[in-house]
């Protein structure tokens, strides 16, 4: 039993790290742009497929796929921003319309992946040597440990970026007060494009990590990660990146522990219940601070 | 004279801030009570407490002698309180006629009859040509007029106007003053918030001055005009 719990804790931490990344990119996007990216899960899974293609067609290992995904997704996100967002601002209710539009993006992205890769679940047949490492009394797969290390590095880099660099500070300022920052002479369009690109890059990287940590993925896995991203974002407080990082880890732990004690389906329901409960009883998230509004 | 509206010891706190502090006020039918005070004095909050939007922390509100404290806004509205808002809050995607029908939806009268009344009211407010437009297509000043029309539509014995003249051209301002005078003459109790002291002094039979949620002066126009506490609050630090 103790072993099971310990296993749950370690896996919870690893999975939670990934959830944190899934959430933090979504929350950045919402914070700066006030758009709700319903297609976030599909962006993430597209990252997994990129890693898959890089490995199976070009023999590029997942570790190398991380920076490649970051660059590819950054550029794609930058482009997508200019196609999708500026027009959106002209509608009556941009926030809700963004939800709807990304609903479309999510359907289209899933369909596109379906056309390219078919519905079968995919796995990357890449193994580290040794396959697993002993941590205390339990064994953890090396792939998972590597993924976790990358998660930590990316999170720290992101935090440093947001709190220590000028563009990062501009982003946080934009989250807190989008009107003021325009008056201060920041080009909000470029900043938004950058935020979109950054969030996409994070999603792509997360996708690569997911290919390492989880056994398989298919074009329709995206929806699950979208929900997870929503849970994390709401738990952390809409638009609060630090909150999202914390909430991701917390939710990962909760979910993995739930799978130790509960049947699979129940664990999923718990996730949904956490989401609904948070919105009802703690709409500003676990940290209880509202970044905006 | 019957007391149309009365508050006793009305208090509303936001965290540590006492926005409305033990306010006693009363207005009789046919009387206009001016409410003045600097920004943040608590005037709007007072109205919000009266009409039930905020639940007061302490004290009571009486309409025609009956206690309505803590009742939801729609119940208070049916007791006969109509109001306008500092920043116009019209139903943006509804026609002007439909805007006016909203406060009388529970009336027994036939729809056609109510529509006729609404048209008459729009006529009175000089908005009749726009009656089929959506409210969002009106200018800011026209929206203020629409709010006033909507407030008067159910013929409530008590009306509360929050800054009706803010951002309004003098010509329209004069027009609104006339409508408010008419309303009082028709026997309604009028609570009027305004920063425009000339209009306040002209319309009100009595005035209360609020500062930091408390009534610092109360009386006829002449008492208020020369009141040192009011001058201090308005001109002092």
């Amino acid at each position: 039993m103790e072993l099971l719990i310990l296993n749950g804790l370690v896996n919870g931490l690893i999975v939670g790290g990934i959830y944190a990344l899934v959430g933090v990119s979504l929350t950045l996007l919402y914070g700066v742009l006030r758009v709700v990216n319903f297609a976030h899960g599909e962006f993430v899974i597209a990252g997994s497929f990129l890693a898959f293609v890089l490995f199976t067609s070009f023999g590029i290992p997942p570790l190398l796929a991380v920076p490649i995904a970051a660059v590819v997704f950054f550029i794609a996100g930058w482009g997508l921003y200019y196609v999708l967002i500026p027009r959106l601002a002209r509608s009556d209710d941009p926030e809700l319309m963004s939800f709807l539009m990304f609903y479309g993006v999510s359907i289209a992205a899933a369909a596109l992946m379906l056309l390219l890769f078919e519905a079968d679940s995919r796995t990357i047949d890449y193994t580290f040597t040794p396959v697993s490492v002993q941590v205390g009394p339990i064994y953890v797969s090396t792939a998972r440990l590597v993924a976790f290390a990358i998660t930590v590095v990316v999170s720290i880099a992101l935090a440093l970026f947001l709190f220590k660099t000028l563009p990062g500070k501009a982003l946080r300022a934009a989250i807190m007060n989008p009107e003021a920052i325009q008056i201060m002479g920041v080009d909000i369009v470029r900043l938004s494009a950058f935020a979109f690109a950054l969030a996409s890059a994070l999603a792509g990287v997360t996708g690569v990590l997911i290919a390492l940590v989880f056994p398989a993925f298919n074009p329709f896995s995206g929806a699950e990660y979208t929900i997870i991203a929503f849970i994390v974002v709401v738990l952390g407080g809409l638009g609060n990146p630090v909150g999202a990082l914390l909430a991701g880890v917390l939710f990962g732990l909760a979910e993995q522990m739930a799978t130790v004690f509960l049947p699979q389906a129940m664990a999923q329901i718990v996730g949904f219940l956490i989401l609904v409960g948070t919105i009802f009883f703690r709409p500003s998230g676990i940290l209880g601070v509202r970044f905006k509004r | 004279m019957t007391v149309a509206i009365e508050t006793r010891g009305l208090t509303k706190r936001f965290g540590g801030l006492v926005a409305v502090d033990k306010v006693d006020l009363r207005a009789d039918a046919g009387e206009t009570l001016g409410i003045i005070g600097v920004n943040g004095a608590g005037k709007t909050t007072l109205m919000n407490c009266i009409c039930g939007l905020y639940r007061p922390d302490d004290g009571d509100v009486f309409v025609a002698g009956e206690r309505v404290t803590g009742q939801p806004p729609h119940v208070v509205a049916h007791r006969g309180i109509g109001r306008t808002f500092q920043i116009p809050r019209v139903f943006r995607k509804m026609s002007l006629i439909d805007n006016l029908l909203v406060p009388v939806l529970d009336r027994k009268a036939h729809d056609a009859e109510l529509i006729e009344q609404a048209e008459a009211m729009l006529e009175r407010m000089q908005l009749i040509d726009l009656r089929h437009n959506h409210a969002e297509e009106l200018s800011g000043g026209q929206q203020k007029l629409l709010e006033m029309a909507r407030m008067l539509m159910p013929d409530p014995p008590i009306v509360m106007l929050d800054e009706p003249f803010a951002g309004v051209h003098p010509v329209l301002c004069k027009f609104m003053i006339d409508r408010i005078e008419e309303t009082a003459r028709a026997g309604k109790a009028v609570l009027l918030i305004s920063h425009d002291l000339t209009s306040i002094y002209r319309l009100s039979s009595r005035v209360i001055a609020l500062n930091q949620g408390r009534i610092i002066a109360e009386g006829g126009v002449d008492d208020i005009r020369g009141n040192p506490a009011v001058i201090e609050a308005y001109l002092g630090t």
Binding site: M101, G104, V105, A108, A111 | L105
Partner: protein, 320 residues
Amino acid sequence: MASPSRAPDSADRIYFTLTALMGGVLLIYFASVPLLGLNVAFHFYLMLWITMASAFNVASGFAGYMPFGYVAFYGIGAFTTAILVKKAAFPVFLALPLSGVAGIVLALLFAPTLRLSGIYFGIVSLALAGICRLVITNMPEEITGGSFGLQLGSRAHPVQSFYVMMAVMVVALAVILWLSRSRLGKALRATRDDADAAEMMGVNVPIVRLWGWLISAFFPAVCGGVEAWYTNVVDTETAFNTLITAKTVIYAVAGGLGTVTGPVLGAVAMVWLDELIWRQFPLLNLLILGLATIVLVLFLPRGIVGTLLRKKPQWRRYIP
């Protein structure tokens, strides 16, 4: 509501004539589909989507909510009919109204979410639909048939179910037509535009919202039931498929939220387009649905009818 005490003005006359005309065309056209040997399946689903999009419009266009878990009502309706018919040997005609009741019960359970607004409401709705799906999937196999779903047996009757679907559509459209002119409809719209102001104008906001919500939940539940009867099979994968929500939302938005004709027109245009594309490129179906949504939101956010009325505001009084 009450009959007008004076002669209806000319705008009303045009409105009623147009309504009667469009209603008549719709009625005669659909009624003659099986008689003329037209494609029953296509028209069955066309009516289903017209009903779904129109009922969705009550929650979104009239009341201002975006229930992204709308499929929950459909799914619960499908399973209610299937279980009652298969496991309790209910006659279909008794099971179908009970599907509607199930939808209403579910809507009552979800009623507390009506305090939320904007994306919070949307996200919670989505999560609740997820919970519904999981709960039904994990119910004992003897009740819901597990992952295989339920076969209704040899009770299918395409033409009968076609006409029942038609009746449901007609009732739905009649109710929504009534709603759009009724006092409840005005109260709903006022609540959508500014709930606090509406409340201070004497509108009992929670009750009004609840009515709108119940109307909006009833019809998809019945649709689910009728479709279960029509296809003779129900399983959680299809009955709770998020694509059902997606299509409903997209069709309604395509036509224009807030008008009666909007969702009808949107459903007709999009279902027809869907069929056309699907025949040509079966694989591209989903992709095109997604792209169509994006294009719609970006270039026609008010939908067909909404855009038209924006250009010709004076037509608002003529077009239902």
